[in-house]
Amino acid sequence: MVKLILRKEEFEVKAGMTVQHTLEKVGLDSHSVLATLQGELLTDDEILHEGDVIKLVPVISGGRL
């Protein structure tokens, strides 16, 4: 599984999907959040692997996310 962390929320999704697909699975998109792995930014086409912990950084200050 891949773990996504957004502020105090956590999501778990299947490994092997792209960042874009993974975000869509949990109702997010890359205009609202930036995906980072160990502090490095990921592009939408990056494949996420088993055990990855992805920290999501909200783009809109003060937004719902």
């Binding site: 609202s32 939408d44 086409d45 200050s61 003060g62 719902r64």
Partner: protein, 316 residues
């Protein structure tokens, strides 16, 4: 995905530019583009003194970082609003702004609203007619007044803010939905100086908000992730989310909306309501003639004191 300029892994893909860049070339591209926009819109020159309004957020700290790298004479201005919101919002944003300035040896001017006017912004919102249910209205009015005052008193040539393209497109959408053409006439990358009012510029107005967040991350700038607690659910944020949905379906939609507006303005689609009546006098966003406020000297279109001085008088 590879960087367009080298073989390294890209950290961002900007669909509207069809451009992917790595962690070395991306921040450099942002700096170069900012310089291009500063020149294109004639915002300021290297000889001029620049005051950067900083909030501790990603946009304003990134802007200061970019201008510092470009070698501009840029000082920072932090306004202590006294907003707690359960997260120590103002304290944390001030700490981050001070830390940023200290790390780079930059000068940060601080104005504390409570220290100067005896009330924090949330208190002003509770105790004044203007603030009833609208803390953002009090906050915006106070910040505009204080920023201009600090720039004029400090002898700065220009006041710059970290507004990005998403901010500008959201404001434009709001004004378009109600056709407030007076505000549209004044919206743009640069607002010229007038009597009592310093020139204002927005060097980041051509970058998407996600690009500025990415820049701050790549540059390792520590900023406050949380937005102002009072802004949650605001119209501007709602408009940004709407525009992002449009952008997801049609990459470049936000950019096209804003740039087409700037072009329409250039073609004269938005004009002062009655230029003949105004003659050589300045006209405000509401179409009324401007005159100096008898208390603070800043331009106002109201009959007597400006809205800020009236609000301060109300609590005194």
């Amino acid at each position: 995905m590879k960087c367009r300029k080298c073989a390294e892994k890209a950290v961002i893909n900007m669909l509207q530019h069809k451009l992917a860049l790595c962690k070395t070339h991306y921040p450099q591209w942002i700096v170069d583009q900012t310089q291009r926009f500063v020149e294109k819109y004639q915002m300021f020159t290297p000889q001029e003194r620049v005051l950067v309004a900083v909030s501790g957020g990603k946009d304003s700290l990134s802007l200061w970082d970019i201008l510092w790298q470009l070698g501009y004479q840029a000082d920072g201005l932090y306004i202590g609003l006294g907003i707690e919101g359960g997260i120590g919002y103002s304290d944390e944003s001030q700490r981050l702004s001070e830390q940023f300035a200290h790390e780079r040896g930059l000068r940060l001017v601080t104005v504390d609203v409570e220290g100067e006017y005896g009330r924090t912004i949330p208190e002003l919102a509770l105790q004044t007619y203007r603030g009833k249910g609208k803390p953002c209205s009090v906050c915006g009015l106070s910040k505009r007044h204080i920023m201009n005052r600090a720039a004029v008193q400090g002898g700065y040539d220009v006041l710059v803010t970290g507004h990005n393209l998403d901010d500008e497109a959201a404001v434009l959408l709001g004004n378009t939905l109600t056709w407030i053409t007076g505000y549209m006439l004044r919206q743009g990358p640069v607002l010229a100086a007038r009597a009592g009012m310093v020139r204002k510029a927005k060097p980041l107005c051509r970058f998407y908000e996600r690009e500025m967040a990415a820049y701050a991350l790549v540059r390792g700038i520590e900023y406050i992730y949380d937005g102002c607690p009072h802004a949650v659910g605001s119209k501007t944020i709602n408009y940004k989310e709407l525009l992002n949905r449009l952008e997801a379906d049609r990459p470049g939609a936000k950019q096209s909306f804003y740039l087409s507006f700037l072009q329409a303005k250039e073609y004269g689609f938005f004009r002062t309501p009655d230029p003949e009546q105004a003659g050589s006098q300045e006209i405000g966003a509401d179409g009324k003639l401007l005159h100096p406020c008898p208390t603070c000297g800043q331009p106002t279109s109201s009959g007597g004191e400006c809205a800020f001085c009236r609000m301060v008088a109300e609590i005194r």
